[in-house]
């Protein structure tokens, strides 16, 4: 078999259920998404070769890493994966630099300087691991994995151990890693925002089974997916920087424009922007005399939930999906229902620029 991408068929016992999954994907960035205890980490460990598998097979780009029927089991060091486990497993008695260089053991000609530059670790290289912050440790673990010249990067809840504010500071680094090194990656997460921002495809895992699979915007809008998305979801929008002013910039989403805080943007760059689902207002008519700078035409696609409700709308011009959290009272009074044309109102300051890069 020589299909590109990752092919998985796994069965392994977990308490209180078995992990039993089978799928093949050619997505460059795959999210494995689901609630805690769904078997996500076990799946990742099986791909990394850190966990015994009762029955199954793991193939990547035509290489067989595991096949219990054929008796094939490639050692973790021979699989060429860069694994960043949730507990990071940095070597506590070494400096930042020595930890990062441990990745070179296997890889040979890694561009260590470039990795350190992209992850902004240059100034920390001489520091002891025990003296740096949680977010910095996360970046060191990423750097070590990248320096091992991985064919596939495996990230287990890279933002999971961090508080919300820090999570949003690390996300841009993950976007940079994805875009600058172009390594295929599998991301395990229970944070829908992270998956929406980073992944081309997502597998929704519940109690050891795959219950939905597809593009994040599709899976999260499905009957199985929307409940798993959880609170505090942030919409992730990608567009081109159209103009840069003194304190704000505009991003073109299709031919709609979104005004965002200026950040370090340059015209022509691709920018990734996040907007919290509960920071978006819905108007049934185009509002006037409003301080909010962004009014985007959209069409409602679905309405979910009863008490705490959520609306899925699609931007008219761009086709991007936006989640909006509202009360059910608001949904009733505005008579929001599928196909209804509405306007989404977003303050400039509600938009956060996560990353930008040249084309």
């Amino acid at each position: 078999m020589s299909a590109p991408g990752l092919e998985l068929r796994l069965r392994l016992p977990l308490a209180p259920f078995d992990l039993d999954v089978e799928f093949a994907t050619s997505a460059r960035t795959l999210g494995v998404f689901g609630p805690s205890g769904a078997g996500k980490t076990s799946l990742l460990e099986a791909v990394a070769g850190w966990r015994e598998v009762e029955a199954g097979a793991v193939r990547f780009n035509g290489d067989t890493w595991l096949d219990t029927e054929l008796g094939v089991r490639t050692a973790p060091s021979q699989r060429g994966v860069g694994y960043v486990p949730q507990d990071l497993l940095l070597f506590p008695h070494w400096s930042v630099e020595r930890n990062v260089l441990a990745g070179v053991e296997r890889g040979g000609a890694a561009d260590v300087e470039r990795v350190l530059a992209v992850l902004e670790l240059g100034d920390l290289r001489a520091r002891d691991i025990e003296t740096i912050s949680g977010g910095e440790k996360q970046r060191v673990a990423l750097a070590r994995a990248l320096c091992s010249q991985p064919k596939l990067l495996l990230l287990d809840e890279p933002l999971g151990a961090l508080d919300r504010a820090l999570r949003r500071r690390i996300l841009p680094y993950l976007l940079r890693v994805r875009d600058e090194f172009r390594v295929p990656l599998v991301l395990v997460s229970h944070d829908a925002t992270e998956v929406a921002a980073l992944c081309d495809e997502v597998v929704l895992l519940e109690a050891g089974r795959v219950v939905a699979r597809g593009a994040p915007s599709v899976v999260f809008a499905s009957d199985e997916g929307w409940r798993a998305v959880g609170d505090e979801f942030e919409n992730v929008l990608t567009g081109a920087v159209a103009s840069v002013g003194a304190s704000t910039a505009t991003i073109a989403l299709g031919d709609a424009l979104l005004e965002v805080p200026r950040s370090a943007l340059e015209v022509g760059q691709r920018a990734v922007v996040s907007v919290r689902a509960d920071d978006v207002l819905i108007a049934t008519e185009r509002p006037r005399g409003l301080s909010a700078r962004n009014v985007l035409a959209a069409r409602i696609e679905r309405v979910f939930g009863e008490s705490e409700a959520r609306v899925l709308a699609r931007l008219e011009r761009d086709g991007a999906a936006m989640w909006i959290d509202l009360t059910s009272g608001a949904i009733r009074e505005l008579e929001l229902r599928p196909e209804r044309e509405v306007f989404l109102v977003i303050k400039t300051r509600s938009c956060r620029v996560l990353s930008a890069r040249g084309e």
Partner: protein, 225 residues
């Protein structure tokens, strides 16, 4: 009261015997500790029990077994080996007795030291391409270092105080096999209480220093600064 030649002799013999005994028990004890901490094998619990046995058996019993082992017709005696290992009633015998008696402490303390190093760190090292030997030398050993030094010091302390097995295997020959422990026994038998107290004082100072260092090492190994 001045420190006489007999006291210095006993101190010299004790330090010699305990040092060489520690050199002998260290590699065996550390290897056993690693094996018990990191490997699963058939008969592991039997090995565990055997290693602990000298802790609970009467030291004279261990001494007697060693005596039989190294007697002329024993499994390691002159007849079997084809040469005389010259163990019985010599300082070598005292070393052997002390090493045997301190091995369980070294092995058990070393085992804990290795168990406190997360095995997942070693797996990470291996999956990054380090050989097993490299993982041991560069990750496991440095992280277990404090606990291992504590293990050796504890073994040294145990060897310092060894009495029962030593007197059976090596006898009690002043200037040759008479350690502090044996000399104290002699002095008591002969009513030389002052001299016995002097030797006890010296023993207390050495043991206190060793255990003090062990406690500090183990506290730091547990990350309590």
């Amino acid at each position: 009261m001045s420190i006489g030649g007999a006291t210095l002799d006993a101190l010299r013999v004790t330090l010699q015997v305990a040092s060489v005994a520690t050199l002998l028990s260290a590699p065996v004890g550390v290897a056993l500790g690693y094996l018990l901490a990191r490997r699963e094998f058939a008969g592991k619990s039997v090995v565990e029990t055997l290693v602990a046995l000298p802790l609970v058996l009467p030291p004279t019993a261990i001494g007697y077994l060693l005596l039989r082992l190294f007697a002329r017709h024993g499994w390691l005696g002159a007849d079997t080996l084809g040469f005389d290992p010259d163990v019985l009633l010599t300082w070598r015998g005292a070393v052997l007795a002390a090493a045997t008696m301190s091995l369980p402490l070294v092995a058990r303390t070393a085992r804990v030291a290795f168990e406190e190093v997360p095995a997942r760190l070693e797996t990470m090292g291996e999956s990054l391409g380090l050989t097993r030997a490299n993982v041991f030398a560069r990750i496991t050993l440095p992280l277990a270092k404090r606990g291992l030094i504590a293990a050796l010091l504890l073994g040294f302390c145990r060897a310092l105080g060894e009495f029962g097995a030593t007197i059976v295997v090596a006898g009690n020959i002043a200037g040759r096999t008479q350690t502090l422990a044996l000399a104290i026994f002699d002095d008591m038998q002969l009513g030389r209480d002052d001299h016995a107290l002097q030797l006890i004082g010296i023993s207390v100072v050495i043991a206190f220093a060793c255990i003090f260092v062990v406690e500090r090492l183990q506290r730091r190994a547990r990350g309590e600064a």
